[in-house]
C-alpha cells in the first residue's frame, strides 16, 4: 500500500525553482533515504510532504489524503506524519515530559496520566527516561534529538520524516540517534530520511534517492546505487562523500 505518492511536484521560492519535477512513491513500512549535495532540494522535498512549504505545483498524497487539495484538514494529516528537524526544535520552556505530552493532551485529548505513561514508555525506548523532568537546555544535542523523536512518536504517526537529524550533532552523539532510528525502521515505521550518513542509508534504507539540482537523478536499492551508480552526477557525488 502506498503511504506517500508524489506526482510532478514543483516548488519555487520567488523566481528560484528548487524542485522541478519530482515523482516518488513510498510504500508502507519502507525506509527511503534521500541523499544529495546541499542545495539539491532534498530538505525542501521533505518539507513539502507535510506542507511546511507551500507547494507550487503537482500533487502529494499522504496516506490517502491529497494535501495539495485546498479542502484537506492539514492539521489532521500532520498528526499522522511525525517530523524530526536538524535543529531539534524542542520547546525550551517545557520539560522533556511536557514536550512529549503536549500534543497528545491538547490535540488527541488524552488524559494527562495516560499521556505521561506513554511519554515515559517512549523515553525508555530512546534511552532517556531519567531525563523526563529535565529541560531541553540541560540536554546534549544527541539527547535532544532523541527526545524530539519521542515527541513525534507520541502522536502515533504512520509516517516519520527526518530532516538531516544528525547533521547538527557532535560525532560521538550520532550513533545513539541512528540506533533509535534503526530500531524504529525495524519495527516497521514508514520513514523518509534526508541524510548525509551514507552508512545509515546503505544499511537501513530500502531504497535510496539521489537528488541534484531540483530533480531526482537516480533511485535504487542501496547496494545498487552505492555499488553501481548509473548517472555521472551520482558517481561524482558518491566519489566525494564515500
Amino acid at each position: 500500500m502506498s503511504m506517500i505518492t508524489v506526482k510532478n511536484l514543483r516548488k519555487s521560492f520567488g523566481n528560484l525553482e528548487v524542485l522541478k519535477d519530482i515523482n516518488a512513491e513510498v510504500k508502507e513500512k519502507e525506509v527511503i533515504c534521500v541523499i544529495g549535495p546541499s542545495g539539491s532540494g532534498k530538505s525542501t522535498f521533505l518539507r513539502c510532504l507535510n506542507r511546511l512549504e507551500e507547494i507550487t505545483g503537482g500533487q502529494v498524497v499522504i496516506n490517502g489524503h491529497d494535501i495539495t487539495d485546498k479542502k484537506v484538514d492539514l492539521n489532521k494529516v500532520r498528526q499522522e506524519v511525525g517530523m524530526v528537524f536538524q535543529q531539534f526544535n524542542l520547546f525550551p520552556h517545557m520539560t522533556v515530559l511536557e514536550n512529549i505530552t503536549l500534543g497528545p493532551v491538547k490535540i488527541h485529548s488524552t488524559e494527562k496520566t495516560a499521556a505521561e505513561k506513554l511519554a515515559l514508555e517512549l523515553l525508555d525506548k530512546v534511552g532517556l527516561r531519567e531525563k523526563a523532568n529535565s529541560y531541553p537546555g540541560e540536554l546534549s544535542g544527541g539527547q535532544k534529538q532523541r527526545v524530539a523523536i519521542a515527541r513525534a512518536l507520541a502522536m502515533n504517526p504512520k509516517i516519520m520524516l527526518f530532516d538531516e537529524p544528525t547533521s547538527a550533532l557532535d560525532p560521538e552523539m550520532v550513533g545513539d540517534v541512528l540506533e533509535v532510528m534503526k530500531q524504529l525502521a525495524k519495527e516497521g515505521m514508514t520513514m523518509v530520511v534526508v541524510t548525509h550518513e551514507m552508512g545509515f542509508a546503505r544499511e537501513v534504507g530500502d531504497r535510496v534517492i539521489f537528488m541534484d539540482g531540483g530533480y531526482i537523478v537516480e533511485e535504487n536499492e542501496p547496494n545498487a546505487l552505492f555499488g553501481n551508480p548509473q548517472h555521472e552526477r551520482t558517481k561524482a557525488f558518491l566519489s566525494k562523500v564515500l
Binding site: F85, N89, L102, K106, Y135
Partner: protein, 214 residues
C-alpha cells in the same frame, strides 16, 4: 516635617487614585497591545494596516493631546459622556496599548521559526501554536521591556491631574498651594512616586527570576 506629616494622608489618598487608574489601565493596555500585535502579524493585509495605523497614530501624538481629545473632544460630541476617571483610564490604556503592541510583536517575532514549524508538524493549529509555544516564550523575553513601559505609563498618569482627577499629583498641587510649602510637598510627592516605582521594579525582577529557571 509636620507639614509633610499632615499632608501625607491626603497625598496617600491621591496615591490610591493613581494606583487604581494605573492598574486598570495597564491591564486593559496589555490586552489592547496583545490584540493589536496579533492583528499586526495576522495573514490578512487589511488587519495589518489597521494595527499599524493605530500604533502610528498613538506614537505620533503627545499623550496630553490624546487625553484632551478623549475627555474634551469626544465629550463635546455629546453622544457619550465620559467622566474624568473613565477618560483617564481609557487614555492611559490606549496609549500603553500601542507601545505594548510593538513590544509584543517584536517578542513574538524574536522566537525562532523552528518552534512554529515543530508545533505545526505535530498538528497544532496556528492559534494553539501561538498560545502554547510562542507566547509563553515571547513573554519571558518581553518582561524587561513590559516593565519599562509600565513604569512610563505610571508616570503618565500624573498628567491626568490636568483634567481634574484627584491623583497623587493633583493632591500635591492642592497641598502645595494650600500650605505655601511647595518645596517640601513636591519633594514628598516625588519620593512617593519613586518608592512605588521602585517596588514595581522589585516585583518585575522577582517575576523575571521566577520565569528564568533554565
Amino acid at each position: 516635617m509636620d507639614i509633610i506629616v499632615s499632608a501625607l494622608p491626603i497625598l496617600l489618598k491621591g496615591l490610591q487614585v493613581t494606583l487604581y487608574i494605573f492598574l486598570i489601565a495597564i491591564l486593559l493596555g496589555f490586552l489592547i497591545g496583545l490584540v493589536i500585535a496579533l492583528l499586526r502579524l495576522a495573514p490578512l493585509k487589511i488587519l495589518n494596516w489597521i494595527a499599524k495605523i493605530y500604533v502610528d497614530a498613538i506614537r505620533g501624538t503627545p499623550f496630553i493631546v490624546q487625553l484632551f481629545f478623549i475627555y474634551f473632544g469626544i465629550n463635546s460630541l455629546q453622544f457619550i459622556s465620559l467622566n474624568s476617571t473613565t477618560a483617564g483610564i481609557i487614555t492611559v490604556a490606549i496609549n500603553a496599548g500601542a507601545y505594548f503592541a510593538e513590544i509584543i510583536r517584536a517578542g513574538i517575532q524574536s522566537i525562532d521559526k523552528g518552534q512554529t514549524e515543530a508545533a505545526r508538524s505535530i498538528g497544532f493549529t496556528g492559534a494553539q501554536t501561538m498560545r502554547y509555544i510562542i507566547l509563553p516564550q515571547a513573554f519571558r523575553r518581553m518582561l524587561p521591556t513590559i516593565t519599562n513601559q509600565s513604569i512610563i505609563s505610571l508616570k503618565d498618569t500624573s498628567l491626568l491631574s490636568v483634567i481634574g482627577i484627584a491623583d497623587l499629583t493633583q493632591q500635591g498641587q492642592i497641598q502645595a498651594s494650600a500650605t505655601f510649602e511647595a518645596f517640601k510637598i513636591w519633594l514628598a510627592v516625588g519620593v512617593i512616586y519613586f518608592i512605588v516605582i521602585y517596588l514595581l521594579t522589585l516585583l518585575a525582577n522577582f517575576v523575571e527570576r521566577r520565569f528564568q529557571l533554565r
